[in-house]
């Protein structure tokens, strides 16, 4: 047995978001277009899910390409140079290629030198899990600055004739660059899982398309997750009255609105509704929602945001963060 003690770096008191980026595929798919190929209509889709249109990726919009585009935008917004980013995490549940994963290629294409790079698959909670991992790495001193990307091409794994999924799942990528800070800009994560419901959102063995037990997921999201959101605020030492922006995973507009109602958020809180134009983009939905609010001016620097990813697994992760 050796006497050597293991040293740890000092790290940083906190982590903060320095920049946000987004990539939305070129092709807009309206409800009317979908109504031509399956038995559905605009009214049904809007009342049931809250989606008016969504984006499907095409040529030149691979998962890696979308990640690079969103990542570049976040990097530009952050003010950092490529060389300063020493960690890249790509969250995705729809990576067609497993070997290699996306992280190192995204890092390479962005000219980031040789940062630590890996992928996270946590269903629609991927981005918030990855965000937590990146913030913790910065606080622990494992990284100085991190790029976190949420990217999906769900249209690749959706049955385009199944109206219960084809109208919902969509494509896109969102990204955040994080750095160290003296005061925390990202709050403690609250995460958990309900693996007994692994079949609720799944690509069944031997098939290629997502199936979803809509009622079971709706029930889970609208009952169990209110406590999680409350805990994310409690752990950060904030209350509903402090929340400027509420940006949960954009799964279904009715879920978002029920969550907001149950939390007792003030009237002034901005609620992210990017799902109306973006559809459900799984791991990309939280950063895309915040990017949209930043672009419109509804979310501004310093705003306290409550975010939550939740979905396939079933699994969830949520935290508070300040807008850059």
């Amino acid at each position: 047995m050796s006497d050597a003690t293991i040293q740890l770096p000092t790290g940083a008191p906190g982590a903060q978001v320095l920049g946000i980026g987004a990539y939305r595929p070129r092709r807009v798919v309206t409800n009317d277009e979908l109504s031509q190929v399956m038995d559905t209509n605009d009214e049904w889709i809007q009342t049931r899910v809250g989606i008016a249109e969504r984006r499907w990726a095409g040529d030149g919009e691979s998962l890696v390409e979308m990640s690079v585009a969103a990542g570049q935008q976040a990097l530009d917004a952050s003010g950092l140079t490529a060389a300063e980013v020493d960690l890249v995490i790509v969250a995705s549940a729809s990576l067609a290629t497993q070997i290699p994963g996306a992280g190192p290629e995204v890092a390479n294409r962005l000219g980031l030198g040789r940062p630590g790079a890996f992928d996270v698959n946590a269903g629609c909670a991927g981005f918030c899990y990855a965000l937590s991992a990146a913030a913790d790495a910065i606080r622990a001193g494992s990284a100085r600055n991190a790029l976190v990307v949420g990217a999906e091409r769900l249209s690749d794994v959706t049955d385009q004739t199944d109206r219960s999924t084809a109208v919902i799942f969509a494509d896109g990528a969102g990204a955040m660059v994080l750095g160290a800070s003296d005061t925390p800009g990202v709050g403690p994560v609250v995460w958990g899982s309900d693996g007994d419901q692994r079949d609720a959102i799944a690509i069944p063995q031997g098939t290629e398309h997502i199936t979803m037990a809509g009622q079971a997921v709706y029930r889970w999201a609208t009952t169990k997750l209110t406590d999680v959101l409350q805990e994310a605020m409690d752990r950060a030492g904030v209350t509903a009255a402090d929340i400027d922006v509420f940006a949960p995973h954009q799964a279904n507009l009715r879920i978002i609105e029920l969550m907001a109602k149950r939390l007792g958020l003030p009237e002034s809180t901005v609620i992210a509704r990017d799902i109306v134009q973006a559809g459900n983009t799984s791991s990309a939905s939280v950063p895309l929602a915040l990017a949209a609010l930043q672009e419109s001016g509804e979310a501004t620097t310093g705003d306290l945001c409550l975010v939550l990813g939740y979905g396939a697994g079933l699994t969830f992760a949520g935290q508070v963060l300040r807008m850059p």
Binding site: T47, G214, Q215, A216, R219, T222, L258
Partner: protein, 81 residues
């Protein structure tokens, strides 16, 4: 343990809160989907509210069998107390 009348009134309150159904319309023969414009996601909200109000859980696989207001009242009665 609630009486049928109490269950009916309680359920009417839930239907108004969840789906904007006027209390006068929440009568036993009414079909949730056909008459009251309540979709399957709203049925989940109703089930959650029924559990909060009456302590009776309605799992997803039973929810499909509840087609009318009367079905819901019977279910609650059968599983109440």
């Amino acid at each position: 343990m609630s009486s049928t009348a109490e269950i009916q009134t309680g359920l009417a309150e839930i239907l108004e809160e969840v789906a904007g159904v006027a209390p006068a319309d929440a009568t036993p023969e009414k079909s949730f989907t056909e008459d009251l414009d309540v979709d399957s996601l709203s049925m989940v909200e109703i089930a959650t509210a029924v559990e909060d109000k009456f302590g009776v859980a309605i799992p997803d696989d039973e929810l499909g069998g509840i087609k009318t207001v009367g079905d819901a009242i019977s279910f609650i009665e059968k599983n109440n107390g």
